[in-house]
Amino acid sequence: MVGKTATPHLMRKSARLIGLAVAGAVVLSACAGGASSPSSSPKGGGTISFAWPPSSPPTDIFPLLSASQYTNVNLNEFTNLLYRPLYWIGEGSQVVLNEGRSLAYPPTWSSNGRVVTVRLKHFMWSNGTAVSARDVLFWQNLVTANKDQDGGYVPGNYPDNVVATKVINSTTVQFTLNKAWNQTWFLLNELAQIVPLPLAWDKTCATCAAGTADETPAGAKAVYTYLEGQAKKLTTYATNPLWKIVDGEWTLQQFMPDGYSVFVPNKHYSGPQPHISRFVAEPFTSAVAEFNAIKSGSGPDVGYLPVTDLPAKAAVLAQGYSLAPWPDWNYNFIGLNFHNPTVGKILSQLYIRQALQHLMDQTTMVKYAYGGYAWPIYGPVPPVPANNYNTIKSNPYPYNIAAAKQLLTTHGWTISNGVAVCSRPGTGGSQCGIGIKAGAALKFTMLLANENPPLLIAMQDYKSDAAKAGIDITLTQAPILTVFGDMSPCSGASCSWQMGNYGVGWTYFPDYYPTGEDTFETGAGTNFGGYSNPVNDRNIVYTNTAPPAQSQSALNTYQQYLAQQLPVLWQPNYDYQLTLVRSGVHGVTPQSPVLQIIPSEWSRS
């Protein structure tokens, strides 16, 4: 996903011992946050209200989200409350496996790394059936037969890399992979996408018998079509018997097509009941409307402060709200088009990219453009929140106009009328570089998303600094979707964009392991600028396939290389949301960097 939308979150749970009854046998099992008495009542009671992101209400309840519905709100803030994923990623502020909230124990791997075995904990559907291995297979059959509809689908990855799925017994399922993949990568990116589905959904019409229709590809397509069709009836979300079968902590009591949702605890939930007895999520047409509601005293308990209203921060804090910046699992960048007929050859020169990066005064941008609610980015692995994946602690190309100028002059560029011009064409070490003709000027056009005021300020600053080194950047503003559209990978004469900045960067979602096969590998679908580097390609492949002991070192090598090579220009990343939490509401922080909310862990005092 790429957009920044809003949402709050949870607290971690400690491991607990829970008694489980499985198939008549009493099994004691240690599972963090797993099962407990299914009929326990809410602990504290009360209602907590929450603001959906502006103009982004939930629009789909079927967890196998189609591409057009694959939004953070639908996945991490709505369906996850009702239908629990096999593996829950995100614990506290860390992007790691949350064993407590997962439906299964950590997977085990065969010695050759090609067979992964998943053993389910004891969880129950609200219709009284156990969450079983067959439910996992049901998902697998649906996603395999309908992969072109799956919003999380990347060709070659899940489910293409699963060659067989076998139910071993009611609680164990085994996946055979097409090769040995990096186990952390496979867990965070692939297994985490699986959401076991109740077999009561395995049918092709309301009155059809359920349970076996998914077993053939044609049947699986028909089931998907039926369920997808049901999910298009938004007015029935709180009443359709299909959607009443849940295994998450909540069930929908009320849902309106504008997104207004009332959740109440699922009394049959296998784990601890929520602290509150009602969770209300409210839609807002704009951030202004939401903030007006907060200022007037009628706003949600958990909402947000628009960045443009930062001057009003003191006033809302005085009202009893606390402010919790919410960083997401994201890096921010300016795309460079290496295939542009005019400037592609220029941008292909590393020293040019280094000069451009030296001109990025990220510290000033963070302070003045983003009001301090941002941080510098030096590479493709997010540094915030603090995590073990990121190993780039200093800027390889700190802000230094003189250094940028020197890089240009030592490679044969001279400043004429304020713009650097190639005066020494050629491929030698002190010449402009391959494909750059004498007289070529360092003039670029940056397509810039216009909905983001801090970004506009930051880029004005960048343009100003670039001009001091003889680089002329023309900022062309356009709606973000226009920038998206123009930034598509391209080649030939029509490949017109030069620099593209849609401002929200790249969020690792739903592939949470921060590798670059989607973005920087040669030919990748979202390698916008067509960056191609065989060393980088090898590094990426290794991050995807490294054995456990070398997983982190592979990630280190990958990110260090790209931080140096600059396939894009790194620019500051900013908080996904400045969350406001009303006094007396607890458990909202720390917020999940993968943008989940867990209102069952919120409470009122």
């Binding site: 790429v2 591409a67 938004l234 047409t285 509601a293 009628s298 979707l481 123009d486 979202t526």
Partner: protein
């Protein structure tokens, strides 16, 4: 009159057809296309391709347009992948809410603007006229968005007399059940509309005041009130009626901002969001409804012409 109405309805159909063609062509000129915009930049090529085929976006533009018209004739306005609902359902849900907002604003605007404009004309270049003109020009110059925020600041945040949000709910009856929440959004939209209408009413009434029939009425001893109400008002209303009919699109545009500020998801905001995400079916549906509203507004104005002035015959 019947022949006139039939002719106008046929013209309206032609106009709407033209509207759909122009909007259809314009929105397909947007860079990136619907699939990429709706599915996001990370959508893989096979997913984008499947989406385009499923929705006919891979066909020539003309074929897509003809397909659209064919569906339209069957009452199918299309499906919004952004909202995951049919366009018909979205318009049925949000359209009446905007109609209510715009309708109430127009009623208030007319109720205030017509007597105000008339009084200004009667007291031309007097204090009342100057005050009215100043207020109208001020009201007309204020951005709707800004007016809304100021009213919220004053009446919802400082005084707390009215809610900061418009009524919440998906039906008109739910909206009407929260009348106090309607006050600020309706007044916001009415302020600018009143300013516009009162200026037209004033100039139209001034024009009527110097006509022979007014002079004749005065010479026959009619009182000022009678002259204004029986002779000036009816004649001065004619251009204002046309204005009301033709100003509908502009008022709906204002409603977009009001809906955004007051958290009132109506058709204006639906149109805005559809444009933001290249939701072509919704854009087409909204354009069709807005076009129909304008044509109907104009038609109603013509009919009201005949009622207001018996000399007019069609």
């Amino acid at each position: 009159m019947v022949v006139f109405l039939i002719r106008r309805v046929l013209e309206a159909v032609a106009v709407l057809l033209g509207v759909t063609l122009v909007v259809f062509l314009l929105i397909h000129l947007l860079p990136g296309g619907a699939a990429r915009a709706l599915l996001g930049p990370r959508a893989s090529a096979p997913v984008v391709r499947a989406f385009e085929i499923a929705n006919g976006y891979n066909k020539p533009l003309l074929v897509q347009y003809v397909d659209y018209l064919a569906r339209l004739l069957h009452g199918n306005l299309g499906f919004s992948y952004h909202y995951n609902q049919s366009v018909g359902a979205l318009l049925a849900q949000d359209g009446p809410k905007t109609a209510l907002l715009v309708g109430m604003a127009i009623v208030i605007a007319v109720a205030v603007a017509i007597p105000l404009g008339l009084a200004q004309a009667a007291k031309r270049n007097k204090a009342l006229d100057h005050i009215g003109t100043s207020l109208a020009l001020t009201g007309y110059s204020l951005p709707v968005f800004w007016v809304g925020i100021i009213l919220i600041q004053l009446f919802a945040i400082k005084i707390r007399a009215f809610p900061a949000e418009a009524p919440q709910g998906t039906t008109v009856s739910q909206v009407l059940s929260q009348p106090s929440a309607l006050v600020l959004p309706v007044i916001t939209l009415a302020i600018v509309t009143t300013a516009l209408f009162s200026r037209f009413m004033r100039s139209s009434a001034i024009e009527a005041l110097i006509q022979d029939y007014t002079r004749t009425a005065r010479s026959k001893g009619a009182s000022q009130v009678r002259v204004l109400s029986r002779h000036v008002l009816r004649n001065a209303l004619l251009p204002v009626l046309t204005l009301i009919g033709l100003s509908l699109p502009g008022i709906v545009t204002g409603a977009i901002l009001v809906e955004s500020v007051f958290n009132y998801p109506g058709m204006g905001l639906l149109l805005w969001n559809a444009a933001s995400v290249h939701d072509f079916p919704v854009l087409m549906g909204c354009a069709l409804v807005a076009g129909a509203a304008t044509v109907v507004g104009s038609l109603v104005a013509d009919v009201l012409y005949a009622i207001a002035d018996p000399r007019i015959r069609y």
